[in-house]
């Protein structure tokens, strides 16, 4: 019998232990496919954060390092500077990259560090049980914004990719979503592009991916996808936010 669909080689055999309906699994698969298609599994070192995304250590078939909360991009910088011919990527939650790790996020972009960061934006702190994130929407209820995020108290949601795009060293910045087959295909293209730009040594690349957290949002997986589509997509600037001239010429 001909096999028409299987696990990409970029993923290990270990079954995901994300919650049912969590889109971390879809994003993993996309990265796993890209690692295989670009034939870079053996040349790649991934850096995992703290948070649900930290489980990614086990799931990708390339070498992986687990960083402290927020430090993945500093660790990735050290790896890339030691091994400039390898592919280095970080896989981080929005809390990791846009709260505790903000300074590193800004400075890898400013330096044009030749790494790729995947930011998984689920508008909440997943692992610690649903606290407010910098990306939590105005009015969104979390365990630390029980009456809904109040901008007067907690400030406004951060659209990190937009900020990162302003730095000269960031050459490719995209914001995508995995709520529908069409968007999933767009997300894959963006991820692949980011890795190709890194292969070409052009500069820092960031792909932000809107993702669901059915468990902490307190919704079914299907309702979560709907909420993402209706509530999150209008707030965050979507699409290829920055494609530098060198990247266009790639």
């Amino acid at each position: 019998m001909q096999k028409v669909f299987g696990r990409p080689k970029g993923l290990t055999e270990i079954p995901f232990h994300y919650c049912p309906g969590c889109t971390h699994g879809i994003i993993h698969r996309l990265i796993g496919e890209v690692l295989e298609e670009l034939n870079i599994i053996e040349d790649t070192i991934g850096v995992a954060p703290v948070g649900c995304a930290g489980f990614s250590l086990d799931f990708f078939s390339c070498d992986f390092v687990g960083a402290a909360h927020g430090r993945a991009q500093a660790v990735a910088t050290g790896i890339k500077r030691a091994l400039p011919d390898r592919i280095v990527f970080t896989y981080q939650g929005d809390g990791d990259i846009a709260a505790i790790g903000t300074s590193h996020a800004i400075h890898v972009a400013a330096r044009g560090e030749k790494i790729t960061s995947i930011m998984v934006n689920n508008a909440i702190y997943g692992m610690t049980g649903g606290q407010m994130a910098p990306t939590t929407l105005t009015g969104q209820v979390t365990t630390t914004s029980p009456y809904g995020r109040d901008n007067a108290v907690a400030g406004f949601p951060i659209d990190l990719p937009k900020t990162i795009a302003t730095f000269d060293g960031a050459v490719y910045v995209a914001s995508v979503s995995v709520d529908s087959p069409k968007h999933i295909l767009q997300a894959k293209k963006a991820i692949k592009k980011a890795f190709q730009v890194q292969q070409a040594g052009l500069g820092f690349t960031l792909v932000s991916i809107l993702s669901t957290c059915p468990t902490n949002w307190g919704m079914s997986p299907v309702d979560s996808l709907k909420w993402l589509r209706e509530k999150m997509i209008p707030v965050y600037q979507m699409g290829e936010i920055k494609v530098s001239e060198e990247v266009k010429g790639l």
């Binding site: 070192i45 070498d63 500093a74 500077r81 030691a82």
Partner: protein
């Protein structure tokens, strides 16, 4: 090879390069800044990398990445910067990554002053970051030792897969002294068969310190402690100066160890049998130095540039069998030889002539 005249901090930087350090990540802070400046000037010429990080937290985590990738890597800072690095140091220890960290101690706490101080002894030897970990802590007292111990720090780090801290102060970092630049001797070091540098031709590797299963976490803790026991047994280092027949002992490291030598010589001129134990490793603390000299000792004075930190380890080492006193200066002040000898005379009721 002939001797050269270098600043203490430059000596450390030069030794690091000759020890094969290929990457340096740092953030400037007085009185350690000449280390990053010297390396920025010289390391790239040999194909190395010096990166001025956005902060100390970034610098230590960059070291984490480079060490995980298998490179020889160093960072340097001074007290407030070292405090910021503690998170990363704990992670380095947990992941058993070999990194050399230099602390040119400022006075403290807080922003502190720039004069010589040893107020980071607790932080260096008892943790500083979270968790039950140990660093190998080396305490040079002169230029040649800054050089030799920096070189050795890299080998010790690789040998034990452990971060190594070189602890000095603003006096040692800023002084100029002749130093002989010896070449690196080849050590028989274990292969880095754990590094994450891409899985070509082998199974994937991961470097992580996250244990969700308590049984596995305990196994990990036991493994670290077994390594620390091995280091304690093999790496205690100290210098004994007129200690063999001593009735009274000074204990001091770094700059204090240096000053204490003159005190011992002056005391001997006056017929007082004073000796010195100068710890070179602060962790492991050289407990063996005290067991071997113990019998004839009537009393000990530790000389420290803090409110009395090492004295706790000395008391443990002698198991409270002799009185242990503290002579301390703080805030960047150095003790005069005369003051120390006078204090020794006072606490042990010995006749000490005024202008010793």
């Amino acid at each position: 090879m002939s001797k050269v005249l270098l600043k203490g901090n430059e000596t450390i930087a030069e030794a690091a390069m000759r020890a094969g350090c290929k990457l340096f990540f740092g953030y400037p802070i007085t009185p350690s800044t000449e280390i990053v400046e010297y390396l920025a000037k010289h390391l790239p010429k040999g194909g190395g990398t010096v990166l001025q990080a956005e902060c100390e937290v970034a610098a230590i985590n960059m070291c984490f990445g480079a060490a995980a990738a298998g490179a020889r890597v160093m960072t340097a800072s001074s007290s407030p910067g070292i405090s910021l690095k503690q998170e990363g140091i704990s992670y380095l220890a947990a992941n058993e990554l070999p990194v050399v960290i230099v602390n040119i101690n400022r006075t403290g706490p807080g922003l502190g002053g720039l004069g010589p101080a040893q107020s980071d002894y607790f932080q260096s030897t008892k943790g500083g970051g979270h968790g039950d970990y140990r660093l190998i802590v080396l305490a040079p007292s002169k230029a040649q030792e800054l050089y030799d111990l920096t070189m050795e720090a890299f080998d010790l780090a690789d040998k034990y897969r452990n971060p190594v801290l070189l602890l000095a102060d603003g006096f040692l970092g800023q002084m100029m002294e002749p130093v002989q630049l010896k070449e690196r001797k080849e050590e028989n070091l274990p292969p880095k068969d754990w590094k994450t540098d891409g899985c070509k031709g082998r199974a994937k590797r991961k470097i992580a310190s996250y244990f969700l299963v308590n049984e596995l976490a305990e196994e990990g803790c036991r493994r670290w402690q077994a390594k620390y026991d091995q280091i304690k047994e093999a790496e205690q280092r100290w210098e004994s100066f007129y200690a063999d027949d001593a009735e009274y002992l000074l204990v001091g490291y770094g700059t204090c160890g240096r000053i204490a030598k003159s005190v011992v010589l002056n005391a001997r001129k006056q017929g007082i049998k004073l000796g010195l134990i100068r710890p070179i490793t602060l962790w492991p603390f050289p407990v063996k130095a005290f067991t071997s000299h113990f019998d004839g000792i009537k009393g000990i004075v530790t000389v420290e540039l803090n409110a009395g930190q090492m004295i706790e380890d000395v008391k443990l080492a002698v198991n409270c069998r002799v009185p242990v006193h503290l002579y301390s200066r703080q805030g960047g002040m150095l003790p005069h030889e005369r003051e120390i000898l006078k204090y020794v005379g006072q606490v042990f009721n010995l006749p000490v002539r005024g202008e010793a």
